[in-house]
């Protein structure tokens, strides 16, 4: 009988290829479509009452038959990449008997899964295909990174032998990181779109999506950190040890907290807001890759 893990090794390159194809299709669609038209909503709902307010966000334009067909392929390829990653993680879960979060390789693949899930949700819900230009490259790079790591299955070290908290703690991290990547993608696009004449996107929608994704990210990060503290209290005998990894997670949480406060109570929008979201995602990557140089209590991860 073939080793399921050896078979699963072919899934990641396939997922990477499919992701890149989806990205190329999205780029073609975005670079050839016309500017979105305004809708009649303004006839019903009053426009902004002050000069500082943005215009209402227009709906996406109707697509031509050609780009509509390509759009279906682009979305389909992204969904296939997501399914391939899901299958890969499922195989590892079945083989290892625990969530696919036990080492850098597994977490990198799970990170990709979270990113694709968040992106597909946003594309389905908001029809904001332009996000793919910024989000899918992150997913592709992380897949490539995961493929370069040791994919061997090793037993869980004693500290990780808590299936419930391992699944919950890291599971929330994956969802948070996926949402954060979407907010990062929206922020990057917000900053670069004005410089790319062929990329026709509504900046206000990007600003709004970046904010909404951060609104999702922040509570998920909070729950992730609190579950980590609860677990640390059980496993290490201290709910907080200023371990470098948990300290980096706190930095991330503070940045997203600052973003939400700046946005909600100080009215930060636009470029300043976008930069904070980029810094927030950089902090997430720092916390994630930090394992390579931090050491500390999370050094096994």
């Amino acid at each position: 009988m073939p080793d399921p893990l050896r078979l699963a090794e072919f899934i990641l390159p396939a997922a990477l290829i499919v992701t890149v194809i989806a990205l190329i299709a999205d780029i073609v669609i975005l670079s050839t479509r016309r500017a979105p038209a305004r809708t009649r909503e303004q006839a019903l709902v009053g426009g902004p009452a002050d000069a500082a307010s943005p215009a209402p966000a227009p709906r996406p334009a109707k697509k031509s038959g050609q780009s509509g067909g390509l759009a279906a392929y682009a979305t389909g390829f992204t969904a296939i990449a997501f399914l391939l990653i899901t299958v890969y993680l499922g195989v590892r879960m079945i083989v290892t008997g625990h969530g696919p979060f036990a080492n850098q390789h597994e977490f990198a693949v799970s990170f990709v899964w979270g990113i694709l899930l968040a992106y597909l949700f946003v594309e389905w819900k908001l029809k904001l295909r332009a996000l793919s230009v910024a989000v899918l490259p992150v997913a592709a790079c992380l897949t490539l990174y995961a493929m370069r790591l040791d994919a061997g299955v090793e037993p869980l070290v004693p500290a990780l032998q808590n299936n419930l908290l391992l699944t919950l703690h890291v599971g929330f991290a994956i969802l948070a990181y996926g949402a954060a990547c979407v907010s990062f993608g929206a922020a990057v696009l917000y900053l670069v779109a004005p410089k790319l004449r062929r990329l026709k996107v509504n900046l206000e929608r990007l600003d709004e999506v970046g904010y909404k994704a951060a609104v999702v990210t922040f509570p998920l990060l909070t729950i992730m950190i609190l579950l980590g503290a609860l677990w640390a209290d059980t496993a290490w005998g201290s709910y907080w040890s200023w371990d470098p990894k948990e300290t980096a997670a706190l930095v991330t949480w503070l940045i997203y907290g600052a973003f939400l406060h700046a946005r909600v109570v100080r009215g930060w929008r636009g470029r300043k807001s976008a930069w904070l979201l980029i810094i927030g995602f950089a902090a997430i990557l720092f916390a994630y890759f930090g394992n390579n140089f931090f050491g500390g209590l999370h050094s096994y991860a």
Partner: protein, 515 residues
């Protein structure tokens, strides 16, 4: 009396406030909460939203530095020699910056004065913001303003108009009934029977209060843990005598077994100690303690922390009585890694004794397998008084004292912990998540409706408005509600001609030209 709708917290709706510079205080305007001018200004400083954001960012920078820079272990900065040794050890890494970083307290950031000041300012900021917001939220919750000016309906950020053929009175009743069916709280306008106020999740704002208060609870939990908590690693000799827990208890803990399991490649699979806790000599609890399965009893927790070797040593005094009979944990390692050592002192003769054994698997230590070396110093001196290798059971005669190495024994390191802050940490965490959930999922939605005559064919004109912040989600909800109300009066309802805004429409900003 009429009041204009303005929102002291709603900085995203400045157009309304700016349009009426001479208007009196708004319904949500803050009360004068502090008695004196001086304290009022201090209070204002702390509830400043800018201070809050700046403090959060400052804390983020501090914490980031804590993750990037090498941090000294606990207790290093309370011991001058240890501090000097630590600073020297990091000098190779930080070079000329070492002195500056040390002076700024950046090698022990999380106990440094600067960090504690930032935490303190953040706590005060949260406290001031919360106490400042509470009356406003309560006022909105209990006494929302129900009568905006007519002008408000023409200038509000979100506004819509519907022309219907029903009479104004019938239309007003239909709207109120429909909003009630949608589970809105509907309040009549006492000044105008054809106006009404409707809202949902009026209590949603209290979620923010809960989230912010939870942060204060978590900070307090940290302080309580640091000031009143107990956390010390006790090396229990496996199969040895019970060890007193101390700290005002009559508890004793004993490790009867310890097992470390590894896979074929030497990776750890399990560490498990069987602990027995006794109180006044009676066994009160026992269990296998693993990394994820601590033993809890009497407010104390016993965590599997480490393991190692110990040397059982017995010392008899001049009269032949036993003055020392313990397992000495071999906590130190020689620089070449070939031997491990433990230290104990004998107060009577003023001796410090090092017991040295070969490290596990080492054959290069110069000590025969199974033997131990006693190395004796006068307390406080580095001069060796005596040194001898002894076999198990062999006695080293040191004047009036006889030192006997009995055997090598395994020890299990158990973290004994009593943390009065931990329950508060859990309370704060639950409140934080609950507060956030309410804040983000149950946003307060406010609508004002006014019905006037002079619609087409003598019908009514429904005017719907809200002054909330610019928000795509709320805009959608507003549009949905407006469309929903349109359906209530279908097929007669028609969107009114787009009313000319009282102010000039916002010019397309540079940022929206790509739209």
């Amino acid at each position: 009396m009429t009041v204009d709708i303005r929102d002291s917290q709603d900085e995203a709706a400045p157009g309304l406030a700016a349009a009426e510079p001479g208007a009196g205080p708004g319904p949500d305007e803050e009360p004068d909460a502090a008695p004196g001018e001086f304290f009022r200004r201090i209070y204002q400083f702390f509830y400043s939203k800018t201070l809050g954001v700046v403090t959060i960012l400052a804390l983020a920078v501090y914490v980031l530095l804590g993750a990037l820079l090498v941090q000294a272990g606990a207790g290093v900065y309370g011991d001058a020699a240890a501090e000097a040794s630590f600073v020297e050890s990091v000098r190779a890494k930080y070079g000329g910056l070492t002195g500056v970083l040390n002076a700024l307290g950046l090698f022990h950031i999380f106990s440094s004065v600067g960090f504690l000041v930032v935490i303190g300012v953040l706590a005060l900021s949260i406290l001031a913001c919360t106490t400042h917001r509470l009356p406003l939220l309560w006022d909105r919750f209990r006494h929302p303003k129900t009568h905006p000016t007519d002008e408000f309906f023409g200038r509000a950020r979100y506004r819509a108009e519907l022309s219907v053929t029903d009479s104004p009175d019938v239309a007003a009743t239909a709207v109120a009934d429909h909003l009630k069916r949608l589970r809105y709280r509907v309040l009549a306008d006492p000044d105008d029977p054809r106006s009404l106020y409707a809202d949902k999740f009026a209590w949603g704002g209290f979620g923010t209060v809960a989230a912010h208060v939870s942060f204060l609870i978590i900070i307090a939990a940290f302080a309580l843990s640091a000031l009143a908590g107990v956390a010390e690693v006790t090396n229990l000799p496996v199969g040895g005598a019970p060890v007193a827990v101390g700290h005002g208890t009559d508890l004793q803990v004993q490790a009867t077994t310890f097992q470390a399991t590894y896979d074929d490649d030497g990776r750890p699979l399990d560490y498990v100690s069987h602990l027995v806790v006794t109180e006044n000599g009676a066994v009160v609890k026992e269990q296998d303690v693993r990394v994820n399965e601590p033993l809890s009893y009497g407010g104390f927790k016993f965590h599997q922390n480490s393991y190692g070797l110990a040397a059982d040593v017995q010392v008899t005094g001049p009269d032949g009585s036993v003055v020392f009979d313990q397992s000495v944990p071999l906590e130190y390692q020689t620089s070449d890694g070939t031997a491990v050592a433990g230290i104990f002192t004998l107060a009577g003769p003023g001796l410090e004794v090092q017991v040295i054994l070969p490290a596990s698997g080492s054959t290069d230590s110069g000590i025969a397998a199974g033997d131990a070396v006693f190395q004796l110093y006068k307390t406080g001196s580095s001069e060796v008084l005596d040194m001898a290798e002894v076999a198990p059971g062999e006695v080293l005669d040191e004047g009036d004292y006889d030192l006997t190495f009995l055997r090598e024994r395994q020890v299990t390191g158990i973290l004994v912990r009593h943390d009065p802050g931990a329950p508060w940490m859990i309370v704060g965490s639950i409140l934080l998540v609950a507060g956030m959930t309410v804040t983000f999922a149950c946003r307060h939605r406010r609508y004002w409706v006014r019905v006037a005559g002079a619609g087409p064919a003598g019908g009514a004109v429904l005017r719907l408005a809200s002054s909330d912040k610019e928000d795509g989600g709320f805009r959608q909800a507003f549009e949905d509600l407006a469309a929903d109300l349109g359906r209530v009066f279908a097929p007669t309802a028609e969107p009114a001609e787009p009313a000319e805004p009282a102010t000039e429409p916002a010019p397309a900003s540079k940022e929206t030209t790509h739209a």
